[in-house]
Amino acid sequence: MSTELSTGATRQSAEALARSKGEPNWLVELRGEAAELAGTLGWPKPEKVRIERWNLTAVGNYEQSTAAASIGELPAVARELIAEGTENLLVQRNSGVVWKQFSQDLASKGVIFTDLETACKEHGELVQQYLFQAVAKNEDKLTALHAALWNGGVFVYVPKNVEVEIPLQAILFNDNAGATFAPHILIVADTHSRVTYVDSVVSEPGAASAPFMHPSIVEVFVKAGAHVRFGSIHHMGETGVDMTIRRAVIDNDGRMEWIIGDLNDGNTVSDTKSVLNGKGSTSDAKVISVGTGAQQMSLTTQAVHFGKSSDSDMVTRAVMKDSASAIINGITKIEHGATKANGVQTEKVLMLSPKARGDANPILLIDEDDVTAGHAASVGQVNPEMVYYLMSRGISKQDAERLIIYGFLAPVVSEIPVEAVREQLQRLLERKLEG
């Protein structure tokens, strides 16, 4: 399986697969070009993480998916994430979407919430305007490979002035390591619209026990005055490699919020970026992670300011255990002309083991004088003064440390918009922190 990439993503095979799925010509073409690029471009090079040593080629083969007749048919790993009475839900299993439900009310307002493959067929013109416009397919081998192979996925379109009150939820899971699992999430929020989207990317530990790679791209377009909240929890098994690129492009007075839990057990590259094009555009990114075992992670948040008076805030918090390592980069870039822009970032790492590694690298790149920017980074252990204080009230050492660690991660946990996903996050944290 791991040797198939070099041959598996040829122009011919990518195009053939696309045609066999009945994809429109423009997409067949796009995939073919991307496959060719994947053969020539190099892998991304995250700081201080040698991803070339990871099993990046285990992209598997396309697996024809069969729609589930009911939620009850889905495996527990997906089912437990679905609250009773959920209205808007999409479930991808391995290479394709197997469950979709969407409220009639939202559909009648012109909101689209479907898998991206279907959207390419049914809303081709709309999708084409945005697909691979925030993340170009020729950026590197990862984006090209993803463009050639992506499957299932999610497409959200919210028309002008429409406010979607209830969060849209997606569950993307892998229970066959041999299947290509490469969802692409595309969200377009038109002028003055509002939407919250939450997904969980998980693998079934028993079933996906062989090496697999999850190349994933998220593109979000926030039009003028629109507001998008994007929540995502990743929890794939030890044998998975998660390579996820998230990017939002924000117009005038638009607002983007990222709430990310990078909680895989395996190696992870996570890169979350907001491009603040518009005047008065704002972005808020919150990322938490818990490193366990021997996993290696590269966690990056980025904000690029073009718009005047644009504002960004980025917070990453990681707890590192065992011999896990995480390189945490925060990059705030303020371009020339982005006057009155403000960008702040904080990276904090809590080290629970002497063998773990956590590097926080705050980077400010500023090409404009009339701006404000700030950064704070810290790497440390559980503060003994805090433990002493809690213990002085009768709380045991173990409980005191637990309170402090959960408190450290609380700013993100409390922000997750869907209760079932928030509960999943709590369970995951307990498992990763105390398992």
Partner: protein, 259 residues
């Protein structure tokens, strides 16, 4: 059993420097003792050493509460045995709400199987907060984070009220308090006076003792209690300062362990 707290020949050091050079003190339930003294004489060290702060090492002597050796216990066990220290500089704990913390502390005190129900807890907490004239929103704020000095002190007293300790040590509870807050905090302490509870008030200003009337006053210098008396001693210190004590005892430099 009536509360009986005995400190006998307590010696303690920080980073190899001896600060407490043999403290003797006995507090019975119902009594309020005040320890006064200028800065740097070891008063706060006594409080920290009794509670078990990790930076202080006890090098001699004993401290027992109702016959139990506190110094053998971990910090949490001392608290569960009934010792409470209202700290001069309470830690700020981000991400942990005050009410979650208070409930964890109260449940630790009540013990497994006797935990308080959420609804009872909230009622109890809100009642005590009202007594201390605390804004109810402080229950949902992160523990001490962004609290003013006075708010932190009130929060310490709130914890004392909820945890119902046998021996309360108040370490400079009056520092940074305006008159209103001083009155509220003192009322909180006075409301907790009982035959089963002893207090040790550490302060270097007499003004707190106008609100909380001590039964015994001790003066600390050079890491020892050098003089003891009744409330009249505090008044004389307020009027005349500490120089007469130094003169009487032939002390030139009252501080201890200063570099």
């Amino acid at each position: 059993m009536a509360t009986h707290f005995v400190i006998d020949g307590l010696k303690a050091e920080i980073e190899g420097k001896e600060i407490l050079k043999g403290i003797n003190l006995e507090i019975k339930g119902g009594e309020i003792h005040a320890i006064m003294g200028p800065n740097g004489t070891g008063k706060s060290t006594l409080a920290s050493a009794l509670m078990g702060h990790p930076k202080y090492e006890v090098t001699g002597g004993s401290a027992t509460l109702d016959g139990e050796d506190l110094l053998e216990m971990g910090v949490d066990e001392r608290a569960l045995a009934g010792l409470f220290l209202a700290m001069q500089y309470p830690s700020e704990i981000p991400g942990v709400t005050n009410s979650d913390f208070l409930r964890s502390a109260l449940n630790a005190r009540l013990g497994e199987g006797n935990e308080i129900s959420l609804i009872k807890f909230i009622r109890k907490m809100e009642g005590k907060m009202k007594e201390l004239e605390m804004n109810p929103e402080f229950a949902h704020r992160y523990l001490n984070e962004g609290f003013s000095g006075g708010e932190k002190k009130r929060n310490e007293i709130l914890q004392m009220m909820l945890l119902d300790p046998k021996i309360v040590v108040l370490d400079e509870i009056d520092s940074g308090l305006d008159i209103d807050a001083l009155r509220i905090v003192s009322n909180g302490v006075n409301a907790m006076r009982s035959e089963d509870r002893g207090f040790l008030i550490i302060t270097h200003y007499q003004r707190l003792l106008n609100y909380i009337k001590p039964d015994f006053v001790h003066v600390m210098m050079q890491g020892r209690i050098v003089k003891s008396g009744g409330p009249e001693l505090a008044e004389r210190l307020e009027n005349e300062g500490y120089d007469w004590v130094k003169e009487e005892l032939g002390i030139v430099d009252e501080t201890v362990g200063q570099a």
